[in-house]
Structure formats: structure tokens, C-alpha cells
């Protein structure tokens, strides 16, 4: 069939899935094939097939497998990032529920292509650096901060991957040296990135009264608090 134009709608309304209202002959009339044929002297206009680029002469393969080899069906699936909960929008304050920073209140920046959430303390306020966090381990509060001044375009999942360790042959002495080297300091570039993001955020945070203290404090359940009744 010839390629459909974008926005071309079917003139055959569906009665039930797979069954249209009009028969083949009715549709022939509706689509005006009779008029196109009349315009072009009795037959549908045909286009010359595009000259295909000349294929290189294929050598006969030197090995034919004894049994038929099944080719796997190609997988065209493109995974999408997880659906963001409606309560989580850029600039929302989130509560981390697990991990090293559990209980900390943290600012959500954006969702990365892997689906994880990019989050920052800001570092000066509560010690949480730029970090990735899974949506399931987070509570979205109703507190929002304006992060329009922050540029988060450059952060993606590759930024957070660990450096691959180079394999070196180790002798007794070298082994001990290598252990010491393994604790690497954060590269200055990452510290600068952190500062760049945080300075903008802190300005926005200081505008709201008490927000800085709020972000510095950790969330905890107390006696009598029932999470299913709390409004976050």
C-alpha cells in the first residue's frame, strides 16, 4: 500500500474491532478510486520504482550449517523511563526512605533516562550530594521549590557510573600500594558541579522562611504517628 499521509483518517468507521461499516465496493467508491482512475485514463497512477543502489556481488558462503539455524526475532523494544508519580515534579522536596541518607529531606531536580531521580541536598544544607535515587524509596511532599534557575541538562546516568578499575598485575608490595590508592577523592570537576547547582538552589531556599532548617532536619516517625494517616 502507498504510504499514508500524517493525519489521514479512515473513512470507514469501526462498528466492532476489525469490522468496518462499509463493504469493499462501498469503500472503493468513497475513496474516489474511480475518480483517480478516470483522471489518469483508466488505471491508478504508478510510480517508477526508485533505482536501487547496485548490490555488491555476494560470495557463496563457505559453510552451510547441517540443520536449519533459527534466527532470533529482532527485539525492537525501546524501554521508557518509569512513570513519575504525579506528586513528584522538579523542585519538589522528597524524603529519602532508605540508604545512607534515610530520613533526609532533599530537592528533586529531574528524572534521568534510566528512570532514576536526580536529587541534591543541597550539599551545604544536609550533606546529600548530587545523587540518583529510585522513585520507590522516596516520599514526595507537597513542598515545592522554584528550580528554574538551575541548569541540570548536563547530568545523565553516565555521569554517575563508577570508573572502571584498570587491571594491573600485582606483586606483594604493589598489592598494598594499590589498596591505598583505591580510595579516590572526588574529582574537582564534580565538586564544582555540585557548587554550581547548589548556589542557585540555596538562593531560592533562603527566600522561603524556615525551609533551610526544614531541609537540614531529618524526618522520623515518632510515637503515635501513623504513616497511613499522615499527609506529606
Amino acid at each position: 500500500m502507498a504510504a499514508k499521509k500524517a493525519g489521514a483518517k479512515s473513512r470507514n468507521p469501526e462498528l466492532i474491532r476489525g469490522i468496518g461499516k462499509y463493504s469493499r465496493s462501498k469503500m472503493y467508491h468513497k475513496r474516489g478510486i474511480w475518480a483517480i482512475k478516470a483522471k489518469h485514463g483508466g488505471s491508478l497512477p504508478r510510480h517508477e520504482p526508485k533505482a536501487a543502489p547496485p548490490k555488491p556481488a555476494a560470495k557463496p558462503p563457505k559453510f552451510y550449517p547441517a540443520d536449519d539455524v533459527k534466527t532470533p526475532i529482532p527485539n525492537h523494544r525501546k524501554p521508557k523511563p518509569t512513570k513519575l508519580r504525579p506528586s513528584i515534579t522538579p523542585g519538589t522536596v522528597l524524603i529519602l526512605l532508605a540508604g545512607r541518607f534515610m530520613g533526609k529531606r532533599v530537592v528533586f531536580l529531574k528524572q534521568l533516562p534510566s528512570g532514576l531521580l536526580l536529587v541534591t541536598g543541597p550539599f551545604k544544607i544536609n550533606g546529600v550530594p548530587l545523587r540518583r535515587v529510585n522513585q520507590a524509596y522516596v516520599i514526595g511532599t507537597s513542598t515545592k521549590i522554584d528550580i528554574s534557575g538551575v541548569d541540570v541538562e548536563k547530568f545523565d546516568d553516565k555521569y554517575f557510573t563508577k570508573e572502571k578499575k584498570k587491571k594491573t598485575k600485582k606483586s606483594e608490595n604493589e598489592f598494598f600500594d594499590a589498596r591505598i590508592e583505591e580510595t579516590k577523592a572526588l574529582p574537582q570537576e564534580k565538586k564544582d558541579d555540585q557548587k554550581a547547582v547548589d548556589t542557585q538552589l540555596i538562593k531560592a531556599i533562603e527566600l522561603v522562611p524556615d525551609l533551610k532548617a526544614y531541609l537540614g532536619a531529618r524526618f522520623s516517625l515518632r510515637a503515635g504517628m501513623k504513616p497511613h494517616e499522615l499527609v506529606f
Binding site: 506528586s87 524509596y137 522520623s220 503515635g224 497511613h228 494517616e229 506529606f232
Partner: protein, 112 residues
Amino acid sequence: MVKGRQGERVRLYVRGTILGYKRSKSNQYENTSLIQIEGLNTKEEVAWYCGKRMAYIYKAKTKSDGTRYRCIWGKVTRPHGNSGVVRAKFKSNLPPKSMGGKVRVFMYPSNI
């Protein structure tokens, strides 16, 4: 848990009591345990907790992985009855000595 952490202890779990196994009068089914979560009194309130992970934490004499504390993970599966008791399945069945013991019901996977 015990990580040698200094500083604030924050409780991000709800306490629960292990009541026993799912059972009828004379038969018990140890693959499902019954848990009483603090503060839950009706079947409707349990809906928030369904699917939440829980941990039964206990101490052992020998150290494994650097600590004497051990843990069995599980999750809240469904309400049990009308009064807020909850059914839970654990990775391995809870030991009978855990009856009457405490369980931590965490707030993740979160849906708020």
C-alpha cells in the same frame, strides 16, 4: 541497622508484632505469618501498607558479614480479618520462636 552510625537515629519504619502463622483451629500454614501493625485497627487502613517490605531482625551467636544481627525480609501481602491484622510472606518462613517478637514495616516501596 547497626552500622556503627553516630548521630541521629531516625525511625522510618512502623513497629509490628508477630502474632503467629496463618492457621485454622488445628492446622497452621507457616508460609504466611500474621502481623499486628501498630496503629492499624481496620481492614481499610491496611490498604496503604500492602506491598510494603518488612524485616524480622534477630541476633545470633556467631558473626556473619561482620555483624551478629540477622534479618529475614518479607512483605505485607493482604489484610487478615476486619481489625487491621495483616498477612505477610517472608523470604523464608519465620521461625516459631519469633511469635510475639517485633517486625519492622518499612515505608517503601512508596506510592505517595
